[in-house]
């Protein structure tokens, strides 16, 4: 390509190019040879592996019981790896009864000590592999070696240690993680840490509570989120305090957790969280309300059906449409809200639940479904027309239902919740946020007065607030 007299030619480039061609050709041949060799060697390796695995599996009861001593396979690197893999796989799926036997084999054979030593002394990927293997052992004595690795300067090693501790799944591992995290000495991706804590605290979520109380900011949000997944009825009172947290993420986690405690405890707090200033807290509260059994939740869900946020509205409609009884009465109440978006969302959810026809029949076939067609807007118009008849909306304000919905919240729940709000200076905001919550009673200066006002609010929950703006 280059001309005879060019400066490039003067540099002896033809010679250089010829060498480059040869080098490239050599490179291609080497790469092809490597690909072929690797494929062949992998094939041989896996053939050998499966043959040896079959043989060792045949001797498995003897290996496990120690009849075949560890020294018989420990010194053979290939066999040792197979036995370790089988052991770790077995531990992963084993129950509490089988685990001690497997761990005993791991200890007596010296495999556990070997991995602990490797996790402390090796470097790079070898160390990370050892940490992950240690995690899979679920052995308590592996925790210190894993915790030591949390102080490694290599970020990948720290992540491997956190994943290993997550696999150990013991509260002891959780405490080590939380100690470092709360004191801001642990820097790993949040997702990894949350997964590890979720595994470690599954059986005893109460481990998280003291750390949650002392944590602030992001750490508080993260711990609350994990607690939200793991909550159980015994955590009821701790969760009530969380519901008054100034951090919205924490309140959302509290709402999530409250779905798992007794309805008489959770309902009053969820009712207030369903009026939170943050839409995702309201959404979480509505989702939690949809899972608990409480007669009064209908009214909170009806209010949520008129929420400014479409996700909250849709979820409330979903929850209302899936209530087993009283759909006709709920339909009447939805119409009484005079909120077209709410009515359409509810009718749409009824249709998805295959219960729209039944609900309309319950109204005495006053709505001609065939005439309305499949379009929800037409059905909504027909339903509105029906309820526009004199006296129909008044019937929707059925006094019995109102009273059942206003079942007084448990006093102690309010006593925990409201002081928490007051203490954090967010009581007024919670009561008056977005114009659709309880106005603080004039002259109410004590928490008890406010509690009385809240009770009164629940009694008059059907007084729907006007929509201040177009919903999203």
């Amino acid at each position: 390509m280059v001309s005879d007299s060019s400066w490039l030619r003067d540099l002896g480039l033809a010679w250089l190019v010829a060498r480059a061609i040869l080098l490239s050709l050599l490179g291609i041949l080497l790469l092809i040879a490597f690909i072929v060799f690797r494929r062949w060697s992998r094939g041989c390796y896996f053939n050998r592996l499966s043959r040896r695995t079959m043989a060792l599996r045949g001797q498995w009861p003897d290996i496990l019981s120690g009849k075949i001593p560890g020294s018989a396979w420990r010194l053979n690197r290939f066999d040792c790896r197979i036995v370790e893999d089988i052991l770790l796989d077995s531990i992963e799926i084993s129950g509490e009864e089988e685990l001690p036997r497997l761990l005993a084999c791991l200890r007596q054979s010296g495999l556990l000590d070997f991995r602990i030593r490797e996790a402390r002394s090796a470097d790079g990927w070898q160390r990370r592999s050892a940490l992950l293997a240690l995690g899979r052992t679920r052995a308590p004595e592996a925790v210190p070696a894993l915790v030591e690795a949390l102080e490694s300067p290599a970020a990948e090693t720290v992540v491997a240690a956190v994943r290993g501790l997550g696999r150990i799944a013991s509260p002891q591992a959780a405490v080590s993680l939380l100690d470092l995290y709360v004191s801001e000495q642990l820097h790993v991706p949040e997702h990894t840490l949350k997964n590890a804590l979720l595994n470690c605290c599954r059986r005893s979520p109460a481990v998280l509570v003291p750390y949650l109380n002392s944590a602030t900011g992001k750490a508080r949000e993260l711990i609350a989120r994990v607690l939200g997944e793991l909550a159980n009825p015994s955590l009821g009172e701790d969760l009530l305090t969380l519901a008054a947290d100034p951090l919205p993420e924490v309140r959302a986690s509290a709402a999530r957790a409250l779905a798992k405690v007794q309805p008489e405890v959770s309902f009053p707090v969820l009712s207030i969280l369903a009026l939170d200033a943050e839409w995702f807290v309201r959404l979480r509260a509505v989702i939690a309300l949809s899972t608990i059994e409480h007669r009064g939740k209908i009214y909170v869900l009806l209010r949520a059906l008129c929420d400014l946020n479409r996700h909250v509205r849709q979820r409330a409609a979903w929850a209302l449409a899936r209530l087993q009884h009283g759909k006709e009465e709920i339909l009447e109440k939805v119409v009484a809200t005079r909120d077209n978006y709410a009515l359409q969302a509810f009718l749409s959810e009824l249709e998805r639940d295959d219960s729209l026809d039944k609900a309309l029949e319950g109204l005495g076939k006053v709505v001609n479904r065939a005439a309305a067609g499949s379009d929800v807007e037409n059905v909504a118009a027909a339903v509105r027309k029906h309820f526009a008849a004199p006296g129909a909306v008044a019937a929707a304000m059925n006094e019995d239902l109102v009273e059942s919905g206003a079942a007084p919240p448990r006093d102690y729940a309010l006593q925990y919740y409201l002081p928490g709000l007051e203490q954090r200076g967010s009581l007024d905001a919670a009561l008056s946020g977005r114009g659709n919550t309880v106005a603080r009673v004039p002259g109410a200066t004590t928490v008890e007065d406010t509690a009385a006002a809240v009770k009164k609010y629940f009694a008059g929950l059907d007084k729907a607030a006007d929509r201040p703006e177009e919903p999203r």
Partner: protein, 469 residues
């Protein structure tokens, strides 16, 4: 004249040399990155990626005249292993029975969902939800003649913090979302978009839009595209992502932070290559706002897609890709060599101009001047042959390198025969396939300069939905 030919030939020599050296550098970086990623996978697998903490994802599926495979493909997407998933199908003014097929199969009914067009799109005429699949949302919109407009409608309707754009005729592997999200969750503050690998489906066995067996296609043109995709993804994208200079995330499979897409007003509807355009605009936006970010590429989450199987369709596709490239580079020309845009403005964009956009033109000029110089007798025949041979052998080395990466880390083609064919076709990628694509790209360049930016529809056989292909 002779002097001109000498200068031209010398310039082209330097051009090819630099191009090959960059390819070699990219291959070395890709081998390092792929090996590193393989080690990391062992650690990542220890974590439950599909945990309750995994952020919700909205899968956006723009569909235009996809009646052949839309039902099977949506079913396959609804079966993906991911805890919080929403599938948003956007029927982009289809003239066939795409919407009817969806309505019949999923029991769709109109939902009173308020659609807020945060990004301007052609009107959305109806929104449907499914009684059987609460996670499915179908938007029926008027066509604006671009896929970007349909994706933007999906972004508006999506409810998740992350959106994943998938072609309606592509197949995602079951755990591909969990795997691609591992790339986000490693650093959710910085990682704003992640691309996965796109592989060619032709030749593989597919049942009900699920991949059963991976095989190589039988036709030459499809085989060459397999090699081309391996090289582009496993070498090019992997290496550029290592420098945080990824210029493109394939429109067939990529995940993005929704809030950022809203801030940059989504995909540019007028763009010819909307995927390339979006990534460059994201680079620009984040650099303008001094926001630390990373646009990542993860090579193991896989999307299988149907490649053109005839020369005419392939020619159209390549012409369109080149028009898209020119369109985006021209619209972002003000970023070139500006200090504010750092390595993006001084490295990747000049590279794209010089070694991608102008490559077909320079190659054709090169071939012409060489022939002319040979005719005028001012060319060393020996050197001419040597240099062409070097270009060919070196480029083949890079292609074989991409097969090596595939073999080292991913091994999707398990049969000896498949690997042997891959290696054989590496020999043909740079002669004559490269010259063919050069002509198609030149055609794209010519059409773009003439102002023809129409989107020619590709001929599809619907392999992703077929029982076996």
């Amino acid at each position: 004249m002779v002097r001109f030919l000498q200068i031209s030939n010398d310039t082209l020599f330097v051009y090819y040399l630099i191009s090959n050296l960059i390819s070699l550098l990219l291959l070395i970086v890709a081998i390092y990155k792929n090996t590193h990623h393989r080690y990391r996978l062992a650690s990542v697998r220890m974590e439950n990626l599909a945990s309750p903490f995994s952020p919700p994802i909205s899968l956006l599926v723009p569909a235009h005249n996809e009646e052949l495979g839309i039902v099977a493909n949506v079913n396959s997407l609804l079966r993906l292993d991911y805890p919080q998933l929403e599938v948003v199908v956007v029927n982009d003014g289809s003239n066939d029975r795409t919407l009817e097929r969806l309505q019949e199969s999923f029991g769709l009914h109109r939902a009173p969902i308020v659609y807020v067009a945060e990004i301007g799109t052609a009107p959305v005429t109806a929104i449907y939800r499914s009684a059987a699949h609460p996670r499915l949302l179908v938007l029926d919109k008027e066509s604006a003649g671009s896929k970007a407009d349909a994706i933007n409608a999906g972004i508006n309707a999506a409810t998740s913090p992350y959106v994943c754009v998938v072609d309606a005729d592509s197949i995602l592997e079951k755990d591909s979302l969990s795997r691609i999200m591992a790339g986000v969750m490693s650093d959710p503050q910085r990682v704003i978009a992640v691309g996965g690998i796109v592989r060619i489906l032709n030749g593989s066995t597919v049942e009900s839009a699920e991949l059963r067996e991976v095989h190589l296609p039988s036709s030459h043109i499809e085989m060459l595209q397999v090699i081309e995709y391996l090289r582009a993804f496993l070498v090019g994208r992997e290496a550029w992502a290592g420098f945080n200079l990824l210029p493109i995330i394939s429109g067939a499979f990529g995940i993005f932070r929704r809030d950022l897409l809203l801030q940059v007003q989504g995909f540019r509807a007028a763009a010819v290559g909307e995927d390339f355009d979006l990534i460059i605009r994201l680079h620009r936006y984040l650099l303008d706002h001094d926001t630390p970010y990373h646009i990542n590429f993860i090579p193991d989450p896989t999307c299988w897609t149907e490649a053109p199987s005839d020369y005419k369709s392939l020619a159209r596709q390549r012409a369109r890709w080149h028009k898209g490239l020119m369109d985006t580079l021209w619209s972002t020309r003000d970023m070139l060599f500006r200090k504010r845009y750092g390595r993006v403005g001084s490295l990747i964009l000049p590279y794209m101009w010089l070694f991608e956009c102008l490559a077909p033109l320079l190659e054709i000029v090169g071939y012409s001047t060489i022939i002319l110089a040979a005719c005028l007798g001012c060319l060393s025949h020996q050197f001419f042959v040597e240099f062409l041979l070097f270009g060919y052998v070196f480029a083949t080395l890079i292609s074989v390198g991409s097969v090596l990466l595939e073999e080292l880390n991913y091994r999707r083609y398990t049969r000896w025969r498949d690997v042997a064919w891959l290696l054989v076709y590496c020999l043909f990628e740079h002669l004559p396939y490269r010259q063919l694509t050069m002509i198609w790209r030149l055609r794209g360049m010519w059409e773009y300069l003439r102002g023809d930016v129409r989107w020619h529809e590709l001929k599809r056989t619907g392999v992703s939905a077929s029982a076996s292909c």
